[in-house]
Amino acid sequence: MLETSILGTFNGSDQAYIYIWLSKKHKIVYVGMTNSYTGTIGRAGAHFNRKGTLRKRFVETRGYEVNDVDDILLLSFPLPKTREFTSVEKSYREAVEYLVQKELILLRGKLNPTFDVISWVRLSPRTGNSRIKKLAASIVNSFETNYSRF
């Protein structure tokens, strides 16, 4: 039997997320964002279906299927419950996502085990916004602080 706790990751009705897929054994990190009604769990389906971006990037980077990975973790970071972050217009979410990915690239050499960031994210014109920078920094900080226990 496999037990998976999905507490707090399926509700996207008024909540957007930054999420990180992590496999320490296979040394990969994938950063994404979603305002999906079904939260990060709901968004996961699209990443792992046959044409899913995570599945594709994983094979491209590692040379084997993500199906072989047995330690993959989904980390979800709720964004503020305000319209800028939950709206269909996604420049605020994209900016946080971009900064998180960028910081993880800078950070990875210092973490053990190190990892490759296999997501591709778009540059958002809002990456200079101080509130967004602060949010991204707190997500990365939380990731770094907890990395050893993942």
Binding site: I105, L123, P125, R126, T127
Partner: protein, 588 residues
């Protein structure tokens, strides 16, 4: 146990081969200057002697000798012999050495001429040795000859090495087959030496002269200007200033081996803006030359132990061959510990990244590349806007004489008391909103803001409301933040009247302003339409008395939110099909 067999070397052919590994004249001279720098020289002089002194410097194939003189530590007789060996020892090289293979002096010299002479003294007297490529080839044996210092050489010692120590390298019997002119070599060296030894010239006080001209340090990233001008905002940058894309950051390539490199990236000016910025000036050529903006100069400058080893590298495709990256200047600082990650060639002029280094640097550079390209394009747009007059200003100008209809047919004019009440409610709402607008503006500029005090200035207010201080903008403002990130919002104050603030970062606005930047008419019409939407909302607040003001506010705002979201969704779903990408063929 295996048997050893003798595989003898033909020294002549080996040396000949080494002389043909592809040095340019400037790269060869720089490799020799490396030895001078390593020998702690303070003054390095390059003299170029012509075959025919009466011929112009522009004439090709007219160089007789290259002479490089330095007042460094110098060498005694044994050290000269050691330096002339192929694969000379690295016993004397410290950790910060610029040397790598012990081949530089020989390969660089014989790439230009057939005879290499070394005259040097460590304070104990000058000795001279020379190696001749034709003689080595004939004898099939690598050797040097001790020769007498002649009159001209003594004069050089008296002029440049009065302290009795230092080194003179003379490359003679220059191969006059397609050899560059003196003028071109000097021109190239001025730039190359200035960039290659930027740190030595600017920090260590080393003087390098060519003839009687002192070479100035050139920072290919123009960091001092970036420090004055700050970070690049690719949506605002007009191309006139150098800006930071990435301030120096340490990137770990291998944590176990402790291999760290420092990367920094700047954006150089956009020359075409200088053709039109001030009418009649046409300074674009001057700007291109000053900032070295041309095809061969964009990309990464890799410095090893503070000496440039790779000029404007695209790092195996990390920086694409694309004119939109002309202003992109990156620098990677490494020391010799990172050599295995950068695989440097003998000429110290190119490198091949290891897989690990490629991946790390490629990932790190993604954002910087996007920013640089977006900024270059934005500067192009600004440039075009200046030429064509900004459509936003035209839209505002069109409204100068325009009067909105006061009351629509069928609507009742509200009585004075209600009208005043409504106007006060609108004014109060807008007044309380100003502080929020200023806060958003400051956050967009990267400032940390808790709360905005009441004592904001009129200038701050104007910049926040309009997105820029511009007297030509009177009604329609393109701004970077609108409440809840909607596409537009109405704005009213007693000075400006009814206005619209358009969120230029909203996906639909970007479709109009960026993707369709060439379509000026579309932009003007879009701006005008947005104003009518805002105007109609304010009309309803003022004049539709049959609904409560607060109810109207909620309903109209919700309507605005839904429209903004539907438009964003449409852009997302039809991303590649909307104009200007639309094609008749696809939908025929």
């Amino acid at each position: 146990m295996s048997d050893k067999i003798d595989l003898s070397i033909d020294a002549g052919r080996l040396l000949f081969g080494l002389s043909r590994i592809g040095y340019t004249t400037s790269a060869a001279i720089c490799d020799i200057i490396d030895n001078s720098v390593r020998a702690n020289a303070q003054n390095i002089n390059l003299l170029i002697k012509k075959e025919r002194e009466d011929f112009s410097d522009n004439k090709r194939n007219n160089v007789k000798e290259y002479i490089i003189i330095d007042d460094g530590d110098g060498m005694d007789e044994n050290a000269i012999k050691e330096a002339l060996k192929l694969g000379s020892t690295d016993d004397h090289y410290d950790d910060k050495s610029l040397s790598k293979f012990g081949l530089g002096l020989k390969s660089a010299s014989f790439s230009q001429g057939d005879v290499l002479k070394v005259i040097s003294s460590d304070g104990t007297g000058f000795n001279k040795y020379e190696v001749s490529l034709p003689k080595v080839m004939e004898a099939k044996e690598y050797f040097a000859e001790k020769t007498e210092i002649d009159e001209n050489e003594s004069e050089l010692i008296d002029t440049y090495l009065k302290e009795g120590k230092g080194t003179i390298i003379i490359i003679s019997a220059i191969r006059l087959n397609n050899h560059p002119s003196v003028r071109n070599t000097i021109k190239e060296l001025k730039t190359k030496v200035g960039v290659i030894y930027f740190y030595f010239l600017s920090e260590s006080g080393i003087n390098i002269t060519i003839g009687d001209k002192k070479i100035d340090a050139i920072d290919p990233l123009f960091v001092s200007e970036a420090n004055e001008n700050g970070n690049l905002n690719e949506n605002e940058w007009d191309g006139t200033e150098v800006r930071w894309i990435e301030k120096p950051k340490e990137l770990t390539l291998d944590d176990e081996l402790q291999i760290n490199v420092t990367i920094e990236i700047t954006q150089l000016p956009y020359p075409p803006i200088y053709r039109i910025k001030n009418i009649g000036e046409s300074r674009d050529k001057e700007v291109r030359e000053r900032y070295l903006i041309e095809a061969g100069n964009y990309g990464f400058y890799v410095y090893r132990n503070k000496r440039l080893i790779s000029w404007a590298s695209n790092l195996q495709g990390i920086i694409p061959y694309d004119q939109d990256f002309y202003a992109f200047r990156g620098r990677i600082l490494i020391n010799d510990e990172a050599d295995d990650f950068f695989n440097i060639d003998v000429k110290k002029s190119s490198l091949t990244l290891s897989e690990e280094a490629f991946r790390n640097i490629s990932d790190f550079t993604k954002e910087a590349k996007s920013k640089s390209k977006a900024a270059w394009k934005n500067a192009g747009k600004i440039s075009r806007d200046i030429i064509n007059k900004a459509p936003n200003e035209i839209a505002n100008k069109l409204l100068e004489e325009f009067e909105q209809i006061e009351i629509l047919p069928g609507d009742d004019l509200p009585d004075e008391e209600i009208a005043l009440e409504r106007l006060k409610a609108i004014t109060d709402d807008m007044t309380s909103k100003i502080k929020w607008i200023i806060k958003m503006m400051k956050e967009d500029k990267g400032e940390e803001v808790d709360d905005v005090d009441d004592d904001y200035t009129e200038d701050e207010k104007e910049e926040a409301v309009k997105g820029e201080k511009n007297p030509n903008l009177t009604k329609i403002f393109r701004v970077s933040s609108v409440e809840d990130n909607l596409l537009w919002e109405p704005y009213y104050d007693t000075d400006l009247g009814n206005c619209v603030r358009i969120n230029k970062i909203h996906r639909f606005a970007r479709l109009i302003y960026e993707d369709n930047a060439e379509n000026r008419d579309l932009q003007i019409l879009f701006d005008l339409m947005m104003l009518q939407f805002a105007d109609s909302e304010l009309y309803a607040y003022k004049n539709i008395g049959k609904y409560e003001y607060d109810d109207l506010k909620v309903i109209l705002r919700e309507s605005r939110r839904i429209v903004s979201e539907f438009l964003a969704n449409m852009c997302r779903k039809l991303e590649n099909d909307l104009p200007p990408n639309y094609s008749d063929e696809k939908y025929a």
